[in-house]
Symmetry: C2
Subunit: 445 residues, 2 copies
Amino acid sequence: MRLSRYFLPVLKETPGEAAIVSHQLMLRAGMIKQQSAGIYSWLPLGLKVLNKIAAVVREEQDRSGALEILMPTVQGADLWRESSRYDAYGAEMLRITDRHDRELLFGPTAEEVVTDIFRTHVRSYRDLPLNLYNIQWKFRDEIRPRFGVMRGREFLMKDAYSFDLDEAGARDAYRKMFIAYLRTFQRLGLRAVPMRADTGPIGGDLSHEFIILAPTGESGVFYDAAYEETDWQGSAISFDNTDEARTGREAAVNDFIKAYAATDEMHDQARFEAEVPAERRREGRGIEVGHIFFFGTKYSEPMGAKVTGPDGKDVKVQMGSYGIGVSRLVGGIIEASHDDAGIIWPDAVAPFGVGIINLKPGDAAADAACQQAYDALDKAGRDPLYDDTSERAGAKFATMDLIGIPKQLIIGPRGLAAGVVELKDRRSGERRELSLDAALAELGA
Amino acid sequence: MRLSRYFLPVLKETPGEAAIVSHQLMLRAGMIKQQSAGIYSWLPLGLKVLNKIAAVVREEQDRSGALEILMPTVQGADLWRESSRYDAYGAEMLRITDRHDRELLFGPTAEEVVTDIFRTHVRSYRDLPLNLYNIQWKFRDEIRPRFGVMRGREFLMKDAYSFDLDEAGARDAYRKMFIAYLRTFQRLGLRAVPMRADTGPIGGDLSHEFIILAPTGESGVFYDAAYEETDWQGSAISFDNTDEARTGREAAVNDFIKAYAATDEMHDQARFEAEVPAERRREGRGIEVGHIFFFGTKYSEPMGAKVTGPDGKDVKVQMGSYGIGVSRLVGGIIEASHDDAGIIWPDAVAPFGVGIINLKPGDAAADAACQQAYDALDKAGRDPLYDDTSERAGAKFATMDLIGIPKQLIIGPRGLAAGVVELKDRRSGERRELSLDAALAELGA
């Protein structure tokens, strides 16, 4: 993309309404625009990042065997009466009345809708296990929306729902999601620590929150260094439905969560010091980006979601639900990865792979070299952003750093006369002079 | 994907509530489930098709130079008061009140929101032309929702909005979308005929509807065969912002629309016969799937969307808007392409590229050959659906035809003993025996 044809309304000043760094940087980088309290438009740069995060989440859900569907944003009140949550959910539910005075709502979550799909279409234990997920906009009418996309009202959530014949199966489904979440957050360049959690309005008796570490996080976290040391990408854990794979998942999860981890609310310093050797004690701050629940028959019982078991008798299915805050992760990643100059995107979610800065548009040599770099990087799938505008060089450097492009290629007439361009690494700040060909080779083009 | 691990709740009976063939087939093929009147969940097969259509729409919008953003589903009433549409829009607008008694609405379209983005961030004529689009769920509270996704209440729309300094620029933006739409529908395997249309609640004085031809379409259409003869994919029309490209677009569009085309409401049989030679007269039925508008300063004037012109004076921008009914297209394509056995997907939107039918799961040779075919087709990116279930052969054939998989590979022990498999073409119904290797080569694997 050429910057002259793009819509990237960066701001020089930090907007006064933004209280946290991710909100400030998302506004300054032209990623979002507030439309109403807690409701945002995603501008081109913000949408690219949001879609990249969603793609990683989707790939890991698919890998785990979950199947993608898409449930509507507007749901009928009747289903929520069946589960007795319509009145119980309270003021956070956005209630709607249509032209025929029928009661609707903007879904804050979708246990009822997915249970309705299940009871309509699934009849036999042979169709289990089943996990259906969707990535869809939700609405929770927060009394005081704030922190930009971190606590908005309209937000993008990945929500998965598992259905199993018995509790052992449901606990295995829970572990599959547990592992899929750790893989997901690791691919997004985040360190995630799972914590036992309350179940709240979703219900059930088993729940974990996934907290990502960020210096500006909302809560303190205390954990064993073991949580930083597992490579979930290289792991040999299988998502197959064989006994061997199930046993492997159970062992992996149980082994992982036995190490100490607690948020400040639950932290027990004496236990921390007793259980964790000093050199392995880690303290930090964190942000909740995922939450998983096992709740048995809480919805299948009142809504009649059952299958015929192997013995021919009806069985209420055992369920769990599993959420990731996709739009919240955009803010979360920025909280975890930024410096004074702006955002530092992990490669997996960077909106553009390489920035090209033309120091002197109009100069024939600079234009030709930039065009050559652009074509080569574009062809190699590195999705370059080419600053071909007439801004001064300093402003161009500041914008590329603000919007966090991981690699930046700086090309000008003086360098070209000496046979070199400059290659900058956003994270380290390192700048090196080398030939254009060498730079392109290093960038995979 | 193995069918045994997929969620494909096909129905043997045609549901009574479905009055048109696309609605019947989408329910029978397990693509959607109604949740409330005019509100649907998209099951895995339906979602795959919806996403493939959206991807083609997105590629052609991007090619035309439009930039993707994402506006929220919930909008504030205040913006709609600025344009005087809040009261004017009527009962089709789903009005919402939040916990603080603020008036919101579920967006039926987004002229106001995008004009607000524009006026906040764009200051100079140098930033024009600009076209921002999004693919987002909309809600129109139809008094009598029907025909499945063809006239639902919650529906997926691609809506683009162009901003130009003057009317000539805006008319060029209109032509860019005109051409992009013809390219889009052609890629989707559809014949589209543009028709002059009323502007309705969007406003303005220039508008075209895009009607796709389908034997079961809602309205009659009369047109010159010229509309079937232009290849918009191979066309040399450029989307560049040069004078030469603009002149080319104007000539191409004007040349294209000079031929006769009218829906039955506007049809003039005498003119049709006078203008179109008998052998070039075409009559058919059609479905509206796109609608484009030029409306000048209808929104920029009341909402104060202006830029500084080349002479330093403020200019109200000239705008247009451009919609494609993405979810409606799923139904529209089925109306245009089906037979008694079910759906016939065009290759561009087929949910799976190849179906594999194992005639005797459990037979070692059949299992091995199917697995070999599956691995090869998967690796070649042909996205196979492998029916590995224990259903009887007839039911397997019926399901593959019902869900419209373009190419089907039928593998069983008897054929393998003779060194052959069967390759079936869904559209022609042709079945041929050939070796597995030859079949895979023909399928690009």
